[in-house]
Symmetry: C2
Subunit: 152 residues, 2 copies
Amino acid sequence: MSALSFREATADDLEAIIRLHEEDELGSHGDAWTPENRPAYEAAFKAIAASAENKLFVALQDGEIVGTFQLTFIPNLTSRGALRVKVESVKVKAAKRSLGIGAQMIAFAEEEARKGGAAMLELTSNKTRKEAHRFYERIGFSRSHEGFKKKF
Amino acid sequence: MSALSFREATADDLEAIIRLHEEDELGSHGDAWTPENRPAYEAAFKAIAASAENKLFVALQDGEIVGTFQLTFIPNLTSRGALRVKVESVKVKAAKRSLGIGAQMIAFAEEEARKGGAAMLELTSNKTRKEAHRFYERIGFSRSHEGFKKKF
């Protein structure tokens, strides 16, 4: 596999990132790069870019965006005030899965979290994503929590 | 039960908040208001207070702090850029549990989230907290995700 590189996403990457969301096999979020959705994605991208605590990354291979993920640095009191980092919206291009890109992305995320002074990475994954769960356990995550959501 | 009121925490509330953490039956985070820990809590409180996306609340009853929780507003691309709110560090004073304080805290959290333009509340809860899981399902949360953590 050609080497991956990582950088923070720019507004010009937005379509490529949403195309990765489109390929999500669950599809439950209904994400698609359409003229109707575009303003909402652009507004959300601006909010992420303006946030001191959020970083949206892309993974590149041979100049192509093959993965994306977002980090949220969360200051909190628990564990004697240990900063934690939430990993969200982890997507790998469908044609490039099972080649180690996800593992490199999470390793990079961990490096970023450590550099930022965090003591922990955390993430949630839909209960139907059995393969993803095995992956996260393989790379050192503990499946210690139940994840609850309430949509309005 | 006397009525509850809610407000954002101030630095003066920090000891009372950490005392609620101390009462946590899991105790796995080792939180305690000791001279050794105090600077770490004060630094974490400052980081929360300085953050545009984090709000730490206390619930008061008859002038006493009986509960606490933290909200993190997370801009993200998923679901056409729907803003989400993570609820974290939900604690109710041990002597005041099972009286409806938790439900009022989460209802207040939902109101704050809606006012802030969010479309969803999310939280994780340690797999051993069976009673908490029943509580969250009863008040409308769906236990849809697995929660993973990796400590460094």
